[in-house]
Amino acid sequence: MIKGGLVGTLLAGFLVSLAFAEQAPQRQVSIGYVQLEDDPRYLADNAYTGIEFRELGRPLPGARVGLKDAETIGQVTSTEFSLKPASADSVDELIDRVRSWHRNGNIHFIIADLPAEQLLELAAATRELPVLYFNVSASDDRLRGSQCQANIAHVYPSDSMLTDALMQYLVSQKWTKLLVLKGEEQADERLVRALDESARKFGAEFVAERSFTLGKNPRNREQNNIALLTGEARYDVVFVADTSGELGRYVPYQTQRPRPVVGTAGLSPLAWHWSWHRHGAPQLQHRFEELASPRRMNSASWAAWASVKAVVQAAMRAESHDFEAMRAFILGGELNLDGSKGSPSSFRAWDQQLRQPLLLATPNAVIARLPLRDFMHAREVLDTLGTDEPESECQL
């Protein structure tokens, strides 16, 4: 027997809101958000007859979920959190916007959904301002290495974290002979160099590294035919570096040898995947879908959500609300962020990269959560993913 009609009784029931013994004066914490209108990474041109080769969604809804999650904390700490999104045609416009935010008030924390070059440009131009950027979509290692900047915190994982995650899994499976297929974009080259480092670190090898081109021109068949690209080598696994997504999706099931495909196609290392179902992930996913349906949360959206969470936790737990105190809380090792991935996250002191578990996912399942147990670390197991302190080239 099922009892009671909920809808009817809801009206009869009391609606009790959070009420507080004391009402301290309201404090304001505004979080800025910057993006480029024509960011090539999101151009719909990448979709052919409506088929998306890669997840095109911008991370903004993730930040909005973070803000909604902060409502209760805002009530308790008498803080009003708000989000100020800005979309511009150029970095110069964004520089002006950040300067005006500074002149007019209290925006110190800015979520940046920008490609690496533009992020560096914005950060360099506003270096003198009391501002901390959260990088939520650029994976380039050099942002955390030779070109690192003190006013950028990286929430999105670096290329080396992603390739380390994948490599831990490959090595634990004893799939250590890799055939590497590389696309024409700079990002593809970067990914392969990061993978090469990961292979050295964990003990795997490239049996061959081959560049591919798009098209059907028979004169280039050695570069555009998947069967030929995957022939004449003995490998355990095929790694595809194809950030355009155009070729990669055809590689599984067309390889000359019956071997798994990993990288930007097949099994991919990610900060977030919608099919992750532990540690409160479904609840986060559902809150995201409420705001962004029919989209599902992707890695950049997760990073935007986690960035807001970091600011909110600082507002809740730091000694004061001034920028320096909150910045010190976020970057100084006190942050203990629940990213719904089962281990607490915090920023690495040496390059301001968020240490975090990563997920290895197929299009509809998370196969592994990284780091794996087999890989140990003297202090912090999450630091087996990405550039560790002794190897870091970052001078903050």
């Binding site: 027997m1 099922i2 009892k3 009671g4 009609g5 909920l6 009784t9 809801l10 009869a12 029931g13 009391f14 609606l15 009790v16 809101s17 959070l18 009420a19 507080f20 013994a21 999650d69 209760t72 904390i73 308790v76 409160g280 609840q283 559902h286 809150r287 936790q313 809740m316 737990r317 203990n336 962020l337 629940d338 089962g342 281990s343 607490p344 670390h377 202090r379 912090e380 197991v381 999450l382």
Partner: protein, 336 residues
């Protein structure tokens, strides 16, 4: 039906039905069956498995429930067992004597953890999807009240005189204190990261709350509503971020708190008086649910990621045996 072709059979059927009804009536309200059985809920096999400790922990019944049964609680005379089924939005009621589901109470979306009111006429249910605690009248199924909480509420605990309800919000890192007269949140206590479950010590002198992603338990003074101390866990060979405490249970003598450590695959035994960790016992994968027997000798731990339940000898501080019980065991309770 053939049965109704014969008057004699028909009479017999009616008599039977009457007798059954008679016995059903006189057996309600039933006294405690005192079966000694161990009940385990399973999120993925949608069952409550019933183990008999007197017969080598054999599974004597697998009670099919609605989808994703998680938290369970007995009524005070242990005749009824309430089970929250998260994917079907109901709390089902198992009759302990017959091991059958006898009632079902509709909740909001995704009930996770709940507790019975002191008069056992209503329930307080944390609904993780909607960020509320719902107060539901069992008889009518009506929602009597809703209390808004932080995102992803989980643990709920009512104090002994029923004057205060404590609710943990996983995403807000807070314990909300609800005054039961006014049904208002009178205090929010900031604890560690991702607070999950509660346990009150004897005489209500301390409220323990597990902070899953801080690797610790925060201990709240129920008088002052302040965190007075913390106990951090670090079993040998683990790094701090791998230790994720969730389940709590107090020994019957009130002297030992058992804390399951999730990803660290151990149970900690903590001296309540001194706060010293007396032992770490290795169990299965990701232990959450925990229950100690009334004699204080046996401890059962549900290992969510190895699909088994580990029996620990409390005296020896050692795991004795593990039993495969079903997919993703969540909560353990004992009818003793």
């Amino acid at each position: 039906m053939d049965l109704f072709k014969s008057d004699r059979l028909s009479c017999w059927t009616i008599l039977c039905t009457m007798l059954c009804a008679f016995f059903a009536v006189i057996s309600l309200p039933a006294s405690a069956a005192d079966t000694g059985y161990v009940f385990v809920s399973h999120e993925r096999s949608h069952t409550v498995a019933v183990l008999d400790p007197s017969d080598d922990h054999k599974v004597v019944a697998e009670i099919p429930t609605s989808r994703r049964p998680r938290d369970m609680e007995f009524n005070s005379d242990q005749t009824l067992l309430y089970v929250a089924c998260g994917d079907d939005d109901v709390i089902e009621v198992i009759d302990v004597a017959s091991l059958e589901i006898v009632d079902s109470i509709k909740t909001g979306i995704s009930p996770e953890v709940f507790t019975l009111s002191k008069d056992e006429k209503s329930l307080f249910v944390s609904e993780e999807e909607s960020a509320i605690v719902r107060h539901i009248d069992i008889e009518s199924g009506d929602t009597l009240a809703q209390v808004t909480t932080g995102p992803e509420p989980e643990g709920v605990l009512l104090n002994k005189d029923g004057s205060r309800l404590f609710v943990a919000s996983e995403m807000a890192d807070m314990v909300h204190v609800v005054d039961m007269d006014s049904l208002k949140v009178v205090q929010n206590i900031m604890v560690g990261t991702r607070p999950r479950r509660f346990e009150m010590t004897e005489n209500e002198s301390e409220l323990w709350v597990s902070d899953e992603l801080s690797g610790q338990v925060s201990i709240i003074d129920p008088e002052t509503l302040q965190v007075k101390t913390r106990v951090e866990f670090l079993p040998p060979g683990f790094r701090a971020s791998e230790v994720t405490p969730v389940g709590l249970d107090l020994s019957p003598d009130g002297k030992t708190m058992f804390v399951t450590l999730g990803r660290a695959n151990h149970v900690a035994m903590v001296n309540v008086e001194s706060k010293e960790i007396e032992a770490y016992v290795l169990v299965g994968s990701r232990p959450w649910g925990v229950a100690v027997s009334r004699d204080g000798e046996r401890l059962y731990v549900a290992n969510g990621l190895s699909d088994d339940v580990t029996l620990i000898s409390v005296g020896d501080q050692k795991a004795v045996q593990s039993f495969a019980t079903g997919r993703v065991p969540h909560t353990v309770v004992i009818d003793d």
